[in-house]
Amino acid sequence: MKVAVVGASGFVGTRLVEHLVLGRVAEVVPVVRSFSSLAVVARFELPWKVCDVMDPISLATAFAGCDAVVHAALGDPGQIVKMAGSVYTAAEKAGVKRLVALSSAAVHGLNPPPGTDERTPIHGRQSMDYNNAKVRAEQVLRKSRELGKVELVLLRPSIVYGARSRLFPSVVEKLISGTAFLINDGQGICNGIYVDNLIEAICLALFCDKADGEAFLVGDADTVAWREIYACLADALGIRLDSVHRVIAPTFRKSFKERVESFVATPLAQSILPAIPGEAKRLTKVVLGALKRPMPPNAWTLPEPPAAQIDEEMTALQQCVWKYPNEKAVKLMGFQPPVSFQEGMRRTIAWMEFAGYPLNHR
């Protein structure tokens, strides 16, 4: 089997290429957007393709001769939606049999109501643009599947962790700087999936006969509270968990700048933008940049201990009380996550140490 991996230089893409090549699972064609993105891909001598992932013609050339495509590319909200269409169209043009697209459990929101599963309707009216973009991308792909021949499997992982992930290193950085926080003492559920468990789901999705046209929530087998994640990371750093700020979840309101940025990411704005003169866009950026400028510090104050840096995404995630079920993936694809939470965290922390995070005073 020959598989094209779109987004092969990203976190999941990098590990997927490692898995497919080192496990001799399939011939791999890594697809990236720029030559610079080849730096990590090039550890292997592979027939990679550098192309514009928004352009179906360019992508179709990259997919030529491939039996399947895995779409694991990231982007801003506008790109996420546009890429979904271009990847499916290109797969169709190239005669690809199956497309496995990485969507996200975020289509259900970051704090889903109990009982949420794949049958729960999704909507694009969430507060975070990324979530709405993932919803729209799924809609584009499903519509394309209705009209096209390429089989489609949608995977909805939630918080993917492992070597090269971004979320847990950012928690580590906040733990070090003393700005990390826990809501409700960290009792909320972390819907995590270790990257190798996601790779397992991708490989099943590539081959499973019953998966065409389906979306699957996929996560670790273990139900884990945020407190356990923070405890693991704090322990690796030699930091006491009780030193982490305990906070009450605040209400978030979008600033003017964020509201403008949200609007710019919508399909309507994206269609209008090319007609707006470059100078006007530049001036808008200058004005928005000026709004963000912080006040100069007052010299007549004593240094204060670091305060919790509370962001909307982590606040929503930590309030989650529902563990997404794997039942559908288990039933239709035989999904059994091979790596436990403990082992996944051990490997993640080992990677952080390898990457130079200051975890050596354990």
């Binding site: 080849l38 730096a39 550890r43 292997f44 990457a355």
Partner: protein, 356 residues
């Protein structure tokens, strides 16, 4: 002095172009020829030097004894282009890495000797006052003997590569060690000389490494560890542990350094300034050069050497040293331990790494 720029890619556009604009007045350096097989590259650089003549190949350019030639093409072309320019009596400033192989580098050095020409190598970090100060700390043992050092350098690959030549084994002899590592190893050699022993590991599995680790041991028992990455963000710090303190340097910060001396309650991090002392009078002579100023200075040094006004700071013999050390590393290559791999993946990774 007329100047020919051979290779009009990113390094010429973002660095040499600015340097020659700065040197046009005070040093009377005029860019008269641009050489590159790509018309697009030529047009970009011609915007800065509209009077320069454009050529697709160095053989077509009217280079003579009076020229300073900047060789900033991909490394595999450095030897032929430098030797040709030296043969015409021109002075050459060749970008790092000096060449694609030791044999090529030696041929370049031989050509410079035979023609009695100037062949400078673009290892411009040696022009930083911060790296000069580290060298002085090590040599004069102001903080005692150097006991160990740690180097972490690199981050996600950000250079706007115009082709895949950076990443294909058929086009370039190495990955991050051969690219970023040339600067790093050049400084280490300049500061400490040759190591007696080394262990080298990288993550290439049939291709080119994006991460590597080197353990170096010196005759005086000093030990060092170097980690280079094109993969994830490192802290880009060099830390030197002496008997009586430590020094820390942030990569590419030409005129700042941090020094901690035993007995002090705090560490000192600050700007480097030139001073002189006359008895109890300290006279400030200005802030040390910034990174771009050091880049300009290396070009000025090559031009001044050509005019016989200054000695060449980084001649060919110095450029070859880091290439030799890199070759020694690759000869001793082992697979870097990647703790997220499964046992089976590690076996296959080792097989692919050895097969190269």
């Amino acid at each position: 002095m007329p100047v020919a720029i051979v290779g009009c890619g990113a390094i010429s556009r973002f660095f040499y172009s600015e340097a020659f604009k700065a040197l046009a007045g005070p040093e009377r350096l005029r860019v008269t020829a641009l050489v590159d097989p790509s018309r697009e590259n030529l047009s970009h650089l011609a915007k800065d030097f509209p009077e320069a003549r454009r050529f697709a190949a160095i053989e077509e350019a009217d280079i003579g004894r009076e020229h300073l030639v900047i060789v900033a093409s991909p490394p595999k072309f450095h030897a032929a282009q430098s030797i040709l320019a030296l043969g015409k009596g021109a002075a050459v400033l060749c970008e790092k890495p000096m060449a694609a192989s030791i044999e090529d580098a030696e041929a370049m050095a031989l050509a410079a000797r035979e023609t009695k020409g100037i062949l400078a190598i673009g290892l411009y970090r040696r022009f930083f006052q911060a790296t000069e100060a580290i060298r002085a700390l090590i040599q004069h043992q102001s903080l005692g003997r150097l006991q160990s050092f740690q180097i972490r350098e690199g981050g996600p690959f950000g250079w706007q590569a115009a082709s895949e030549s950076f990443f294909r084994r058929s086009a370039t002899p190495g990955g991050v060690l051969y690219d970023t590592g040339v600067h790093t190893l050049d400084l280490i050699l300049w500061w400490l000389g040759e190591p007696v022993d080394l262990i080298y590991e990288d993550d290439a599995m049939g291709g080119l490494e994006s991460n590597c680790r080197i353990e170096l041991t010196y005759a005086n028992q000093c030990k060092g560890e170097v980690r280079l990455s094109r993969d994830w963000k490192t802290d880009n710090r060099y830390t030197f542990f002496f008997e009586h303190g430590f020094a820390r340097w942030t990569v590419n910060d030409a005129n700042h350094l941090e020094v901690f001396m035993e007995g002090l309650p705090v560490s000192m991090r600050g700007e480097l300034i030139h001073v002189s002392q006359k008895g109890e009078r300290v006279i400030e002579r200005g802030i040390a050069c910034t990174n771009p100023q050091c880049f300009i200075e290396q070009v000025r040094n090559a031009a001044a050497a050509k005019r016989g006004l200054d000695s060449l700071k980084i001649p060919a013999a110095e450029g070859i040293r880091s290439l030799r050390l890199i070759e020694r590393c690759y000869r001793n290559r082992q697979l870097l331990k990647m703790p997220w791999m499964t046992a089976d993946q590690e076996i296959e990774a080792r097989r692919l790494a050895v097969a190269v």
